[in-house]
Symmetry: C5
Subunit: 267 residues, 5 copies
């Protein structure tokens, strides 16, 4: 599980729930009609924008956002450097027996192409085309979340307008104005909460996940082509780690930067 | 029919209609003047922005959004792989008799150019130019919808301003304030509904349709050039399927990803 | 005249005027001070943003938006295909006598360069540089309209703020609140109308005009270079029509798409 | 002086001032605290965003916006065509004596590099690098103005919120509500005026200035490289004027377009 | 310390604090629940958007914004020009003894690669890959700040909605309306202040820092490759200073421009 996403949602809900309860009666914040308008309207708008096939992926998208990122780039680089050594010693065909044991589909496909003696240009072509479509698929998932993040506040406002029009047109006793407005505003609140605590942050998280996955796939393409070209395993290692270095060391190096800077300050 | 679009609109209208009826008198939500201002203003602004020719395409645009996407990319790839085999065996001229039977205009034009012995560079040139203009035409259709999605809320607000100014300037009995405001707000509601339940989602749907069609056309260009180059049919097949693989397997692979991840969670 | 632009404005004004008159007293919508603030403020902001030379082009911009698009691309292609034939038969110098009769400045300049024996690379260079600056000039015209479309609502709001501050600070009789607010809101209405019925749609129309003109000029560049290269007139024709095909057939092909689809629906 | 900028500001201030005075008491629009909040908050936010060095350039930026554009591109082209002739006749070294008399730093540097016998690739490299950084510097200046144009309305709203909270929390006499709201709204008015009459239009003007200067520098790079390459002076002239043609003839040609079109209309 | 950032924050807080105190009771601006909603909600949304690793870098990001920029590009260029001279005289291997003394990690890595005899193409490859990931890391830091700058006002509005709904639904004594609204608006004020005085300006400052650092790294890449290519030290110097010239002279040259222009004005 990705703790940040889960903790974030629990923390946000607890906090806002607490703020609501702290000051009195929580029941006034529940309104079935408002839920129907905001969630229903958002779903309706999303259904019109995307095909059914895309919509059925929403639950999968949400689950992906909650998963810990498990691609171990270091392991994949070690694997590819090993292949590079073996290919240099025993030839590319010797990799055939390793193909079945690779548990990353993308790397497996790449090595298979190399073993089959496919032209390097075509290997790059096929793998980059696959990566391009992965990016597009990820982009579509993200854009569904972002669309929901735009529609939710819009339908929140629509619900409030409906409530206001009903309330105002039937207003005979001015003392009921306050209560009516309170009910009307609940829909706006629902829309704002759904967008800012759910849809927009989840779209952000999907973007981050996607970038990580694409980076790993770029490393794999570079590595497969280096193996095919029979490059020196040491150089393959150096080249592939350049892709990841910053990412892996970020925590450390950011800390290091800060330390040096802090020292500079004291001086 | 594209079920998602139709179901989305029916669902959205039913739901919002239900929410309105649920709480009382639906007749207060009908206002002829508001309809005139929002729809008329939106059409007027769109007419000024685009030429008449473009405007007359709006009904066709709406219909396209309701169509199920019918391009069967797999079938087109099979057809092209078949052409590649025939061309290798019997030469490019042998494709002449197949040209008339191709029921995709774009592919037909491409094969015709190949049969005519056009220079490959020029074939690519002509087909890519055609694709570029298809993209532009699609982009224009989408931008008409998006323009309407911007103008509708603007004229909704304009109608509310007109209503408020009239009501406030003639206000002698404060008890009528509520009813007057209710009527004034209806125009804003119409504008928001048209934009968020119709124009903006339809613009999104047109974008998705356009991307599908452009992808298929890119596959066709790649395939026609491979046929002309006399490439190995097996490799043509491999190359073209790389374009589609992710799209076709998405459902499955997303599911697969989830499963592995879910297993990882339980472990 | 471009009917869409004119009809759009007349339609919009009539409709909104009708909506105003329909419900009573139209005179309350006239306010000189509001006109001064919105139009004056918008002009002032635009004057600060652009140089005087640019501002004096506004009337010309507006007129362009009302013109029917008269560039006949088919005629220009026919002309260029004719030149290509003549150049092949009689040599490039034979075009000299035709130069003076060309009534498109851009094509004339191009053929003149070819007749002068200018290096093809330089011909492309000069013509593309000219086109780039045409695009920039068009872009500037459009951005003036877009700037006015942003400033008008801003000064509408500024006028309303001024009205509200005056009214509220002198409010002794609460019964006058309504009338005061009505007057204050008129400025916002003016700003919204000017932006959504005039400036923003006109900016859109200028964009469409510009795209048409640039497309024709791109066809001319391609044609002039083909003539200079002595390409086969039939291929020149084919290449240039690829640029326009979609544009010319749009109506038809959109209709055709619809028909096939409609048939598919009934089936 | 750039008349448009100055006239625009005077006109805008006069007009809005007039609109304020026209309807009564101008003194109610003066509020020291509102000035402090809007101007102070905008400056504070800008100071945090940019380094001190950048901030000290604001007065220079404002002055640049008021300057008439004085780069005479025609003169620079004449000068370079003259150099091209001299270089062809007497060799590149003959330009050495002219270098000190060039009063444009960028052209001077370019000719110096040519005289020094620098490799053409490196000349282009150095001059384009310089131009890139000029663009970045201009972009930064513009972004400071644009940042202020965003912060001013934000702090206007912040000031109004502060005023409303104070006023509402101490409200015992409802009849004072109007006056309190009037005062609170003044800050929003200040923010909107500063942004729409000053910061945003000045950012626009800086953009226009920057584009002019960059265009001239591009012409200089092209010219210096042509001189170094020993190109025919007549062709150098032709090539460089292609950059400027549209700009210089704009007024005329826009007029010409209109005339032909107008004639077409009458016909 | 970066004075602008610190002074900006102190100045902004003092000024707004002063404006609040000036007019009375400051205590009404303190509300614990509002702080919890705005800060808690913003943190929750940010946690959902980013992984835990990214969030823990926020304090480091803030500290970086407060640091004075300490990269002395001139010193680095001098160092590299020195290396270029030494490498020309004594060969690339002679640089080995200098590597350990370089206190810039990026330059050290580059020289090490050169000393190791790595292929120039690969040196550029590795260094540019590292730079690309530095840019991405910086971009992510900035986007965290920008996300917080968007979420803070959103949760400010959410808090105000919660407050309004509670207040209105329990409103029995209309005289308490003012006080209730004052409390509800405080959350909006907090959100607007955090965004406009902290998050958005800090995101801007991080962008400026990042651009400076990337520029220096680009200079280093260019320099390392020139050293490896054995270029003339004088030309290396010239080439590298072209990157920085504008930046270093900005103050002066902007001043110079102003002077000339001012003189032009007086004339």
């Amino acid at each position: 599980m990705d703790l940040a996403t889960l903790i974030g949602i629990i923390f946000g809900v607890t906090l806002l729930g607490g703020a609501i309860v702290m000051d009195g009666n929580a029941i006034i914040f529940y309104n079935l009609r408002s839920i129907l308008i905001v969630i229903g309207g958002t779903l309706a708008g999303t259904m019109i924008s995307y095909s059914l096939g895309e919509l059925l992926k929403i639950p999968a998208l949400v689950r992906i956002a909650f998963q810990t990122h498990q691609l171990d780039s270091d392991e994949i680089i070690d694997l590819m450097v090993g292949f590079a050594e073996k290919a240099r010693r025993e030839g590319l065909l010797a990799l055939e027996q390793d193909v079945v044991n690779i548990n990353d589909d993308f790397l497996q496909k790449g090595i298979q192409l190399v073993v089959d003696g496919t032209d390097p240009e075509l290997v790059r072509n096929i793998m980059e085309t696959k990566l391009t479509f992965l990016e597009e698929r990820h982009g579509k998932g993200r854009s569904i979340m972002a669309t929901m993040g735009q529609l939710a506040p819009a339908f929140g406002m629509i619900g409030t307008l409906i409530g206001l029009i009903q309330m105002l047109s039937e207003l005979d006793d001015p003392s009921k104005l306050g209560g009516g407005m309170a009910v009307a505003l609940i829909t706006t609140l629902y829309g704002a909460l759904l967008a800012n605590l759910l849809f927009i942050p989840l779209a952000g998280k999907l973007k981050e996940r996607s970038e990580d996955e694409i980076l790993t796939k770029e490393v794999i393409i570079e590595g497969v082509l280096s193996i095919q070209a029979g490059e020196n395993p040491r150089i393959v290692d150096e080249k592939l780690r350049a892709f990841l270095a910053e990412d892996v060391h970020t925590g450390q190096s950011a800390g290091a930067e800060m330390d040096t800077m802090a020292v500079g300050d004291n001086a």
